[in-house]
């Protein structure tokens, strides 16, 4: 067995341990695997570890879930499952080897990558490049094999970008900073369908998002929010223009270079959350988009939001602020969101290491604990919240480190059982791909895109 395959199988097996065991030991075990030369014995020891842990009464939670099944039956079922997993690993090993862990490639010739977005099926990825909005380009990638991404096409426009849920339309910004729609059904030959007129006199685009059914495109800027009917993307129709709320007691203006707040729809498409104005999160009712209304505006603790995420049921909204605080709002009564959890400045309390590419505590003040870029997502079952923050070293170094925080989330929005994973990357803007297990980093300095899989 080749060491690379043994290493990948070993890491895949770490994911087979019971959830509670993984929560406690997976990060340590992966750290050991980082330093250990894996071989067949490593794979066998981990397979044995997975089996014995599942048979361990302390972790065998299935007993409570299936009281009628006897201990022996469960044991045999577990053994059968591990054998089948082993056979599957042998037969599909090469496929795993192509798709697992991480890959990195130069995505831009001019040395910068901005936003990265994925189609829902994770087959298409689009990245933006260019140091100025008027000279930006977008690149479409086939990432079906994530170890060997294939460039499909390059087209004009960039800075903000998103792909429709059906993967047929890309929304980006045109050279003039206006939203533009592209038909990518023939991904090697994208065709521009429409350029949407700017609705606000000033301000660069902050974000674009398609509704879950793909019928609405929301476009946000510092000044406000615009909703377009894009059911027929070649003939977009204006639905609603909403001015950003002004908050007299809001935080300070968003610093230069941070002005790309997040914009997300709830899964049922009835609510939209945007970063607008001076960095607050605003919740909009878009059940009837032509009559969309503001529900509420929420401020961070003297801070501005950079990433937002709805829980799958739409009852919680999580936000990450520029200074790395994580907030969860309960939306049971949407008109009056209640703050259910606050984790202030998570990077500052993350025991960020002093070596290995990290910023020494003595040299990073006062920026220690600042999350220059962040992404957030709930797991599909809504029981965990993943937040990725990236803190670069001080200029001119391009080193940085993704720090992934995962909390268990109660239905009330309370957070518990924090686990933390560190991953070295070049200075980058992290994005969580649909399904929240792939982190994509676009480097604004090195021109690289880096994909890596969460354990």
């Amino acid at each position: 067995m080749r060491p690379a395959l043994a290493d990948r199988l070993s890491r895949a097996l770490v994911g087979c341990y019971p959830p509670r065991w993984k929560q406690r030991y997976a990060a340590e075990l992966l750290d050991v695997l980082d330093q250990h030369r894996a071989g067949p014995r490593t794979v066998l020891s981990l397979a044995g570890g997975v089996l014995s842990t599942h048979l361990d009464p302390s972790y065998r939670m299935e007993i409570r879930a299936m009281p009628r099944l006897g201990r022996d039956t469960l044991g045999y079922l577990t053994i059968f499952a591990v054998i089948m997993a082993g056979l599957a690993a042998v037969t599909v090993g090469p496929a795993i080897a192509r798709n697992i862990r991480e890959s990195s490639w130069h995505a831009s010739t001019d040395g910068s990558v901005g936003t990265v977005a994925f189609s829902r099926d994770l087959r298409l990825m689009v990245s933006t490049a260019g140091n100025t909005p008027w000279a930006a380009t977008s690149t479409l990638w086939d990432v079906t094999d994530r170890a060997r991404p294939r460039r499909l096409s390059v087209f004009e426009g960039g800075s903000t970008i998103t792909i429709s849920p059906d993967g047929r339309t890309v929304a980006t910004s045109a050279f003039s900073g206006q939203p533009a729609l592209w038909n990518v059904t023939r991904p090697r030959h994208p065709a521009r369908l429409a350029v949407l007129p700017a609705r606000f006199p000033s301000g660069a685009l902050w974000g674009e998002a398609f509704s879950p059914d793909g019928g609405i495109l929301a476009v946000s800027s510092m000044s406000g929010l615009v909703l377009w009917n894009v059911a027929d993307p070649s003939r977009p129709r204006l639905l609603r223009t909403l001015a950003a709320p002004l908050q007299p007691r809001g935080p300070a203006p968003v610093p230069f270079g941070v002005g790309n707040g997040d914009l997300v729809f709830s899964r049922d498409g009835h609510m939209l959350a945007s970063v607008s104005g001076s960095g607050q999160a605003t919740l909009w009712n878009v059940t009837h988009p032509a009559h969309a209304t503001r529900i509420a505006t929420m401020a961070g603790p003297r801070d501005y939001f950079t990433a937002l995420a709805f829980s799958p049921r739409g009852n919680l909204l999580a936000g990450v602020t520029y200074h790395g605080s994580v907030l969860v709002f309960r939306l049971a009564g949407p008109a009056r969101p209640v703050r259910a959890a606050l984790r202030p400045r998570i990077l500052a309390s993350a025991r960020f290491p002093g070596g290995g590419g990290a910023v020494p505590a003595s040299s990073c003040a006062p920026s220690c604990g600042v999350a220059a870029a962040a992404a957030a997502a709930f797991t599909p079952d809504g029981q965990a919240l993943t937040v990725v923050v990236d803190r670069p070293e001080t200029f001119p170094s391009t080193a940085a480190r993704d720090t992934v925080f995962t909390w268990q989330v109660a239905s009330s929005g309370a957070l518990s059982d924090l686990t933390t994973i560190f991953h070295d990357v070049s200075d980058a803007q992290p994005t969580l791909a649909p399904g929240d297990r792939i982190v994509a980093d676009g480097s604004p300095i090195g021109g690289q895109v880096h994909l890596w899989a969460l354990p």
Partner: protein, 105 residues
């Protein structure tokens, strides 16, 4: 060799090695593996190591210390030192007996 280690099954031997490794101070996972290889010649694999660590921790024979980055050091507890001493005494008895008998042969 009967004692408190019997319940650990296939993790009994690794547990003795781990407790011995931690006897001279706290170590994290990979440091334990390299230390065990250095003093015993046994190449312990990560699956075996963490299977034993989780059991030892649950028994209160080792305790985790504050994690730095992804590395969490472990230290042996008083209870762990006690069971290790008991196990080593038992092994010493076996070694003594074995030596006597092989010398007589």
């Amino acid at each position: 060799m009967h004692g408190k280690f019997d319940d650990l099954g296939r993790f009994a031997d690794p547990s003795v090695l781990i407790l011995t490794s931690l006897s001279d101070g706290p170590k994290h996972g990979y440091a334990i593996m390299t230390d065990i290889t250095a003093f015993s010649g046994v190449g312990m694999e990560p699956g075996t190591l963490y299977g034993a660590l989780s059991r030892l921790e649950r028994r209160g024979w080792i305790r985790p210390l504050a994690a730095g980055e992804r590395r969490r050091p472990y230290e042996i507890t008083a209870a762990g030192q006690e069971v290790l001493a008991e196990q080593l005494r038992s092994m010493q008895q076996i070694v003594r007996t074995g030596r006597q008998r092989t010398a007589m042969a």
